[in-house]
Subunit: 142 residues, 3 copies
Protein backbone atom coordinates (compact mmCIF):
# COMPACT_ATOMS: atom_id res chain seq x y z
CA UNK A 1 0.00 0.00 0.00
CA UNK A 2 1.26 3.43 -0.92
CA UNK A 3 -1.82 5.40 0.02
CA UNK A 4 0.14 7.42 2.56
CA UNK A 5 2.60 8.68 0.01
CA UNK A 6 2.09 12.26 -1.00
CA UNK A 7 1.04 12.37 -4.63
CA UNK A 8 3.39 14.44 -6.76
CA UNK A 9 1.17 14.41 -9.84
CA UNK A 10 -2.25 16.07 -9.74
CA UNK A 11 -4.72 16.98 -12.48
CA UNK A 12 -7.55 19.40 -12.93
CA UNK A 13 -9.82 20.62 -15.69
CA UNK A 14 -10.47 24.07 -17.09
CA UNK A 15 -13.54 25.02 -19.13
CA UNK A 16 -12.87 27.55 -21.82
CA UNK A 17 -15.45 29.70 -23.60
CA UNK A 18 -13.55 30.76 -26.71
CA UNK A 19 -10.10 31.74 -27.96
CA UNK A 20 -8.17 33.62 -25.29
CA UNK A 21 -6.29 33.41 -21.99
CA UNK A 22 -7.56 31.85 -18.74
CA UNK A 23 -5.71 32.55 -15.51
CA UNK A 24 -4.55 29.35 -13.76
CA UNK A 25 -2.35 30.98 -11.13
CA UNK A 26 -4.63 30.57 -8.10
CA UNK A 27 -5.45 26.97 -9.00
CA UNK A 28 -1.77 26.05 -9.40
CA UNK A 29 -0.74 27.91 -6.24
CA UNK A 30 -3.45 26.14 -4.24
CA UNK A 31 -2.08 22.74 -5.32
CA UNK A 32 1.44 23.78 -4.38
CA UNK A 33 0.18 24.98 -0.98
CA UNK A 34 -1.77 21.73 -0.45
CA UNK A 35 1.40 19.71 -1.12
CA UNK A 36 2.85 21.03 2.13
CA UNK A 37 6.23 21.41 0.47
CA UNK A 38 8.38 24.39 1.26
CA UNK A 39 10.70 24.45 -1.72
CA UNK A 40 10.69 22.72 -5.09
CA UNK A 41 9.65 22.83 -8.71
CA UNK A 42 6.09 22.90 -10.05
CA UNK A 43 5.78 21.76 -13.66
CA UNK A 44 2.56 22.55 -15.48
CA UNK A 45 1.64 20.42 -18.49
CA UNK A 46 -1.35 20.72 -20.82
CA UNK A 47 -2.71 17.55 -22.40
CA UNK A 48 -3.77 19.20 -25.67
CA UNK A 49 -2.31 20.37 -28.98
CA UNK A 50 -4.81 23.13 -29.77
CA UNK A 51 -4.48 24.90 -26.42
CA UNK A 52 -1.24 25.80 -24.66
CA UNK A 53 0.37 27.57 -21.71
CA UNK A 54 1.91 31.00 -21.37
CA UNK A 55 3.20 33.15 -18.52
CA UNK A 56 2.14 36.72 -19.20
CA UNK A 57 1.40 40.05 -17.58
CA UNK A 58 -1.49 40.03 -15.10
CA UNK A 59 -2.02 43.78 -14.76
CA UNK A 60 -3.49 45.23 -17.96
CA UNK A 61 -5.98 42.89 -19.71
CA UNK A 62 -5.13 44.47 -23.08
CA UNK A 63 -1.83 42.56 -22.95
CA UNK A 64 -3.86 39.37 -23.21
CA UNK A 65 -6.14 40.62 -25.98
CA UNK A 66 -3.19 42.09 -27.89
CA UNK A 67 -1.28 38.80 -27.71
CA UNK A 68 -4.34 36.96 -28.96
CA UNK A 69 -4.92 39.50 -31.75
CA UNK A 70 -1.30 39.33 -32.86
CA UNK A 71 -1.39 35.53 -33.09
CA UNK A 72 -4.72 35.59 -34.94
CA UNK A 73 -3.12 37.82 -37.57
CA UNK A 74 0.16 35.84 -37.65
CA UNK A 75 -1.63 32.51 -38.10
CA UNK A 76 -4.84 33.34 -39.97
CA UNK A 77 -7.87 31.07 -39.67
CA UNK A 78 -8.63 29.42 -43.00
CA UNK A 79 -5.13 30.04 -44.41
CA UNK A 80 -4.89 28.30 -47.80
CA UNK A 81 -1.49 26.82 -46.83
CA UNK A 82 -3.25 24.33 -44.54
CA UNK A 83 -4.37 20.83 -45.67
CA UNK A 84 -5.71 19.82 -42.24
CA UNK A 85 -9.12 21.52 -42.43
CA UNK A 86 -11.62 18.79 -41.47
CA UNK A 87 -12.01 20.09 -37.94
CA UNK A 88 -12.67 23.67 -39.02
CA UNK A 89 -10.74 26.75 -40.20
CA UNK A 90 -9.44 27.50 -36.68
CA UNK A 91 -8.10 24.01 -35.94
CA UNK A 92 -4.77 23.97 -37.76
CA UNK A 93 -4.05 27.58 -36.69
CA UNK A 94 -4.67 26.35 -33.12
CA UNK A 95 -2.01 23.65 -33.56
CA UNK A 96 0.48 26.21 -34.90
CA UNK A 97 -0.26 28.67 -32.09
CA UNK A 98 0.25 25.86 -29.54
CA UNK A 99 3.60 24.96 -31.15
CA UNK A 100 4.72 28.61 -30.96
CA UNK A 101 3.84 28.93 -27.27
CA UNK A 102 4.37 26.30 -24.51
CA UNK A 103 3.07 22.83 -23.66
CA UNK A 104 4.93 22.74 -20.32
CA UNK A 105 6.34 25.37 -17.96
CA UNK A 106 8.47 24.76 -14.87
CA UNK A 107 8.20 27.25 -12.01
CA UNK A 108 10.33 27.02 -8.84
CA UNK A 109 8.62 27.64 -5.51
CA UNK A 110 10.03 28.68 -2.14
CA UNK A 111 8.33 29.16 1.24
CA UNK A 112 5.41 27.39 -0.41
CA UNK A 113 4.93 30.17 -2.98
CA UNK A 114 5.46 30.01 -6.74
CA UNK A 115 8.36 32.33 -7.52
CA UNK A 116 6.44 34.27 -10.14
CA UNK A 117 7.46 37.85 -10.77
CA UNK A 118 5.18 40.63 -9.54
CA UNK A 119 3.48 41.01 -12.92
CA UNK A 120 3.38 37.35 -13.94
CA UNK A 121 0.39 35.04 -14.10
CA UNK A 122 0.10 31.53 -15.56
CA UNK A 123 -2.45 31.28 -18.36
CA UNK A 124 -4.09 28.51 -20.30
CA UNK A 125 -4.21 29.80 -23.87
CA UNK A 126 -7.28 28.44 -25.66
CA UNK A 127 -6.68 28.56 -29.41
CA UNK A 128 -10.03 27.15 -30.62
CA UNK A 129 -13.07 29.41 -31.06
CA UNK A 130 -15.57 26.97 -29.48
CA UNK A 131 -15.73 26.11 -25.75
CA UNK A 132 -13.56 23.19 -24.64
CA UNK A 133 -12.79 21.28 -21.46
CA UNK A 134 -9.01 21.22 -21.04
CA UNK A 135 -6.92 18.98 -18.80
CA UNK A 136 -3.93 20.31 -16.89
CA UNK A 137 -1.42 18.09 -15.09
CA UNK A 138 0.90 19.37 -12.38
CA UNK A 139 4.05 17.73 -11.10
CA UNK A 140 5.06 19.13 -7.72
CA UNK A 141 8.58 17.95 -6.96
CA UNK A 142 11.15 18.77 -4.31
CA UNK B 1 30.78 3.70 -5.03
CA UNK B 2 27.48 4.77 -6.49
CA UNK B 3 27.23 2.16 -9.21
CA UNK B 4 24.02 0.79 -7.73
CA UNK B 5 22.25 4.11 -8.00
CA UNK B 6 19.63 4.29 -10.70
CA UNK B 7 20.72 6.74 -13.37
CA UNK B 8 18.28 9.61 -13.75
CA UNK B 9 19.88 11.01 -16.91
CA UNK B 10 19.87 8.97 -20.13
CA UNK B 11 20.68 9.88 -23.72
CA UNK B 12 19.87 8.56 -27.16
CA UNK B 13 20.34 9.58 -30.76
CA UNK B 14 17.88 10.15 -33.57
CA UNK B 15 18.79 10.16 -37.25
CA UNK B 16 16.81 12.61 -39.32
CA UNK B 17 16.42 12.58 -43.10
CA UNK B 18 15.28 16.14 -43.78
CA UNK B 19 13.17 18.97 -42.38
CA UNK B 20 10.16 17.61 -40.54
CA UNK B 21 8.86 15.88 -37.42
CA UNK B 22 10.12 12.57 -35.96
CA UNK B 23 8.04 10.79 -33.31
CA UNK B 24 10.00 10.18 -30.09
CA UNK B 25 7.07 9.03 -27.95
CA UNK B 26 7.82 5.29 -27.88
CA UNK B 27 11.51 5.87 -27.22
CA UNK B 28 10.81 8.24 -24.33
CA UNK B 29 8.08 6.00 -22.87
CA UNK B 30 10.42 2.99 -23.00
CA UNK B 31 13.04 4.88 -20.95
CA UNK B 32 10.41 5.91 -18.41
CA UNK B 33 9.22 2.29 -18.17
CA UNK B 34 12.80 1.03 -17.80
CA UNK B 35 13.34 3.44 -14.88
CA UNK B 36 10.90 1.38 -12.82
CA UNK B 37 9.43 4.58 -11.39
CA UNK B 38 5.73 4.85 -10.85
CA UNK B 39 5.29 8.60 -10.69
CA UNK B 40 7.47 11.54 -11.56
CA UNK B 41 8.58 14.02 -14.19
CA UNK B 42 10.32 13.22 -17.46
CA UNK B 43 12.18 16.18 -18.96
CA UNK B 44 13.24 15.92 -22.60
CA UNK B 45 16.13 18.11 -23.77
CA UNK B 46 17.62 18.42 -27.27
CA UNK B 47 21.32 19.25 -27.54
CA UNK B 48 21.00 21.32 -30.72
CA UNK B 49 20.01 24.80 -31.87
CA UNK B 50 18.83 23.92 -35.40
CA UNK B 51 16.44 21.16 -34.30
CA UNK B 52 13.89 21.35 -31.49
CA UNK B 53 11.04 19.62 -29.68
CA UNK B 54 7.29 19.92 -30.03
CA UNK B 55 4.27 18.07 -28.67
CA UNK B 56 1.74 17.82 -31.47
CA UNK B 57 -1.20 15.82 -32.77
CA UNK B 58 -0.43 12.21 -33.59
CA UNK B 59 -3.56 11.36 -35.59
CA UNK B 60 -3.55 13.16 -38.94
CA UNK B 61 -0.07 13.46 -40.52
CA UNK B 62 -1.14 16.63 -42.34
CA UNK B 63 -0.92 18.43 -38.99
CA UNK B 64 2.81 17.78 -39.08
CA UNK B 65 3.26 18.80 -42.71
CA UNK B 66 1.08 21.90 -42.23
CA UNK B 67 3.10 23.00 -39.20
CA UNK B 68 6.30 22.53 -41.18
CA UNK B 69 4.89 24.37 -44.20
CA UNK B 70 3.70 27.27 -42.06
CA UNK B 71 7.12 27.68 -40.44
CA UNK B 72 8.88 27.45 -43.81
CA UNK B 73 6.76 30.37 -45.02
CA UNK B 74 7.09 32.34 -41.75
CA UNK B 75 10.89 32.00 -41.70
CA UNK B 76 11.94 31.78 -45.36
CA UNK B 77 15.16 30.07 -46.34
CA UNK B 78 17.63 32.56 -47.79
CA UNK B 79 15.85 35.57 -46.25
CA UNK B 80 17.96 38.68 -46.96
CA UNK B 81 17.61 39.78 -43.32
CA UNK B 82 20.09 37.10 -42.26
CA UNK B 83 23.86 37.70 -41.98
CA UNK B 84 24.64 34.17 -40.75
CA UNK B 85 24.65 32.36 -44.11
CA UNK B 86 27.94 30.42 -44.15
CA UNK B 87 26.25 27.14 -43.28
CA UNK B 88 23.61 27.46 -45.99
CA UNK B 89 20.30 29.25 -46.63
CA UNK B 90 18.38 26.93 -44.28
CA UNK B 91 20.72 27.28 -41.30
CA UNK B 92 19.68 30.61 -39.77
CA UNK B 93 15.98 29.85 -40.42
CA UNK B 94 16.61 26.60 -38.50
CA UNK B 95 17.92 28.58 -35.51
CA UNK B 96 14.87 30.88 -35.58
CA UNK B 97 12.45 27.93 -35.87
CA UNK B 98 14.19 26.27 -32.91
CA UNK B 99 13.85 29.48 -30.86
CA UNK B 100 10.12 29.66 -31.68
CA UNK B 101 9.47 26.06 -30.60
CA UNK B 102 11.00 24.22 -27.60
CA UNK B 103 14.44 23.05 -26.46
CA UNK B 104 13.04 21.25 -23.41
CA UNK B 105 9.65 19.83 -22.44
CA UNK B 106 8.63 18.43 -19.04
CA UNK B 107 5.97 15.70 -18.99
CA UNK B 108 4.61 14.21 -15.74
CA UNK B 109 4.14 10.44 -15.60
CA UNK B 110 1.93 8.29 -13.38
CA UNK B 111 1.56 4.51 -13.14
CA UNK B 112 4.71 4.45 -15.23
CA UNK B 113 3.00 6.14 -18.20
CA UNK B 114 3.66 9.60 -19.63
CA UNK B 115 0.53 11.65 -19.02
CA UNK B 116 0.18 12.70 -22.64
CA UNK B 117 -3.27 13.49 -23.92
CA UNK B 118 -4.97 11.06 -26.25
CA UNK B 119 -3.89 12.95 -29.37
CA UNK B 120 -0.43 14.02 -28.21
CA UNK B 121 2.94 12.71 -29.37
CA UNK B 122 6.44 14.02 -28.66
CA UNK B 123 8.33 15.03 -31.79
CA UNK B 124 11.86 15.98 -32.65
CA UNK B 125 11.50 18.83 -35.14
CA UNK B 126 14.39 18.78 -37.62
CA UNK B 127 14.79 22.24 -39.14
CA UNK B 128 17.72 21.56 -41.50
CA UNK B 129 17.14 20.14 -44.98
CA UNK B 130 20.05 17.64 -44.86
CA UNK B 131 20.11 14.48 -42.69
CA UNK B 132 21.51 14.91 -39.18
CA UNK B 133 22.20 12.80 -36.10
CA UNK B 134 20.54 14.48 -33.14
CA UNK B 135 21.17 13.87 -29.45
CA UNK B 136 18.32 13.76 -26.95
CA UNK B 137 18.82 13.76 -23.17
CA UNK B 138 16.14 12.65 -20.74
CA UNK B 139 15.96 13.37 -17.03
CA UNK B 140 13.59 10.98 -15.26
CA UNK B 141 12.97 12.31 -11.77
CA UNK B 142 10.61 11.41 -8.97
CA UNK C 1 15.85 24.55 11.95
CA UNK C 2 16.52 23.70 8.34
CA UNK C 3 19.63 25.78 7.88
CA UNK C 4 21.70 22.71 7.08
CA UNK C 5 19.52 21.73 4.16
CA UNK C 6 21.00 22.43 0.78
CA UNK C 7 18.92 25.06 -0.95
CA UNK C 8 17.51 23.85 -4.25
CA UNK C 9 16.21 27.25 -5.35
CA UNK C 10 18.66 30.08 -6.00
CA UNK C 11 18.24 33.48 -7.64
CA UNK C 12 20.44 36.01 -9.34
CA UNK C 13 20.07 39.23 -11.29
CA UNK C 14 21.20 40.22 -14.76
CA UNK C 15 21.55 43.80 -15.94
CA UNK C 16 20.67 44.31 -19.57
CA UNK C 17 21.63 47.27 -21.72
CA UNK C 18 19.14 46.98 -24.57
CA UNK C 19 17.25 44.47 -26.74
CA UNK C 20 19.38 41.40 -27.37
CA UNK C 21 20.84 38.20 -25.92
CA UNK C 22 22.90 37.89 -22.71
CA UNK C 23 24.83 34.68 -22.04
CA UNK C 24 23.87 33.06 -18.72
CA UNK C 25 25.71 29.76 -19.20
CA UNK C 26 28.66 30.38 -16.87
CA UNK C 27 26.44 31.77 -14.15
CA UNK C 28 24.06 28.80 -14.32
CA UNK C 29 26.89 26.26 -14.50
CA UNK C 30 28.58 27.83 -11.46
CA UNK C 31 25.37 27.39 -9.42
CA UNK C 32 25.09 23.76 -10.52
CA UNK C 33 28.73 23.18 -9.56
CA UNK C 34 28.21 24.88 -6.19
CA UNK C 35 25.28 22.56 -5.45
CA UNK C 36 27.71 19.65 -5.22
CA UNK C 37 25.25 17.44 -7.07
CA UNK C 38 26.50 14.97 -9.61
CA UNK C 39 23.38 14.35 -11.61
CA UNK C 40 20.02 16.05 -11.87
CA UNK C 41 17.89 18.68 -13.57
CA UNK C 42 18.50 22.41 -13.59
CA UNK C 43 15.39 24.46 -14.38
CA UNK C 44 15.90 28.11 -15.31
CA UNK C 45 12.97 30.48 -14.84
CA UNK C 46 12.74 34.19 -15.67
CA UNK C 47 10.48 36.37 -13.51
CA UNK C 48 9.45 38.71 -16.33
CA UNK C 49 7.06 38.92 -19.26
CA UNK C 50 9.05 41.29 -21.48
CA UNK C 51 12.28 39.28 -21.35
CA UNK C 52 12.63 35.55 -21.88
CA UNK C 53 15.03 32.61 -22.22
CA UNK C 54 16.46 30.87 -25.24
CA UNK C 55 19.12 28.23 -25.88
CA UNK C 56 21.00 29.24 -29.00
CA UNK C 57 24.29 28.89 -30.84
CA UNK C 58 27.30 30.25 -28.98
CA UNK C 59 29.79 30.33 -31.86
CA UNK C 60 28.89 33.01 -34.39
CA UNK C 61 27.44 36.18 -32.80
CA UNK C 62 25.48 36.92 -35.99
CA UNK C 63 23.14 34.09 -35.00
CA UNK C 64 22.10 36.21 -32.03
CA UNK C 65 21.76 39.44 -34.00
CA UNK C 66 19.88 37.65 -36.81
CA UNK C 67 17.43 36.11 -34.34
CA UNK C 68 16.86 39.52 -32.79
CA UNK C 69 16.46 41.18 -36.21
CA UNK C 70 14.00 38.53 -37.37
CA UNK C 71 11.83 38.98 -34.27
CA UNK C 72 11.95 42.77 -34.56
CA UNK C 73 10.56 42.44 -38.08
CA UNK C 74 8.00 39.76 -37.14
CA UNK C 75 6.67 41.78 -34.18
CA UNK C 76 7.15 45.42 -35.17
CA UNK C 77 7.46 48.09 -32.52
CA UNK C 78 4.50 50.46 -32.65
CA UNK C 79 2.30 48.00 -34.58
CA UNK C 80 -1.19 49.51 -34.87
CA UNK C 81 -2.75 46.18 -33.82
CA UNK C 82 -1.68 46.82 -30.22
CA UNK C 83 -3.90 48.58 -27.64
CA UNK C 84 -1.37 48.21 -24.79
CA UNK C 85 0.89 51.15 -25.63
CA UNK C 86 1.20 53.11 -22.35
CA UNK C 87 4.62 51.69 -21.58
CA UNK C 88 6.04 52.53 -25.00
CA UNK C 89 6.01 51.18 -28.56
CA UNK C 90 8.40 48.32 -27.70
CA UNK C 91 6.48 47.03 -24.65
CA UNK C 92 3.70 44.97 -26.19
CA UNK C 93 6.10 43.57 -28.85
CA UNK C 94 8.29 42.53 -25.91
CA UNK C 95 5.38 40.58 -24.39
CA UNK C 96 4.70 38.84 -27.71
CA UNK C 97 8.38 37.98 -28.22
CA UNK C 98 8.48 36.55 -24.69
CA UNK C 99 5.39 34.42 -25.42
CA UNK C 100 7.01 33.09 -28.62
CA UNK C 101 10.24 32.09 -26.85
CA UNK C 102 10.59 30.51 -23.36
CA UNK C 103 9.90 31.49 -19.75
CA UNK C 104 11.47 28.29 -18.39
CA UNK C 105 14.00 25.76 -19.69
CA UNK C 106 14.99 22.46 -18.06
CA UNK C 107 18.52 21.18 -18.66
CA UNK C 108 19.76 17.83 -17.30
CA UNK C 109 23.25 17.72 -15.80
CA UNK C 110 25.63 14.82 -15.26
CA UNK C 111 29.07 14.69 -13.64
CA UNK C 112 28.19 18.15 -12.37
CA UNK C 113 28.03 19.59 -15.91
CA UNK C 114 24.99 20.91 -17.77
CA UNK C 115 24.43 18.57 -20.71
CA UNK C 116 24.40 21.35 -23.27
CA UNK C 117 25.45 20.50 -26.79
CA UNK C 118 28.79 21.74 -28.04
CA UNK C 119 27.28 24.80 -29.72
CA UNK C 120 24.63 25.62 -27.14
CA UNK C 121 24.54 28.48 -24.68
CA UNK C 122 21.73 29.67 -22.39
CA UNK C 123 20.67 33.25 -23.07
CA UNK C 124 18.49 35.79 -21.39
CA UNK C 125 16.64 37.50 -24.25
CA UNK C 126 15.94 41.14 -23.39
CA UNK C 127 13.04 42.39 -25.49
CA UNK C 128 12.85 45.99 -24.23
CA UNK C 129 15.06 48.71 -25.72
CA UNK C 130 15.97 50.34 -22.38
CA UNK C 131 18.29 48.79 -19.75
CA UNK C 132 16.59 46.56 -17.18
CA UNK C 133 17.53 44.50 -14.13
CA UNK C 134 16.17 40.99 -14.65
CA UNK C 135 15.68 38.25 -12.06
CA UNK C 136 16.50 34.64 -12.82
CA UNK C 137 15.50 31.73 -10.55
CA UNK C 138 17.16 28.32 -10.74
CA UNK C 139 15.85 25.07 -9.35
CA UNK C 140 18.61 22.49 -9.04
CA UNK C 141 17.01 19.11 -8.38
CA UNK C 142 18.25 15.54 -8.25
Amino acid sequence: MKTELRRRVVSFEVRTRSRGLYDLTDEVQSRVSASGQDEGLCTIFIRHTSASLVVQENADPTVQSDLNAFLSRLVPDGDAIFQHTDEGPDDMPAHVRAALTATSIGIPFSDGRLMLGRWQAIYLFEHRRAPHTRQIVLHIGD
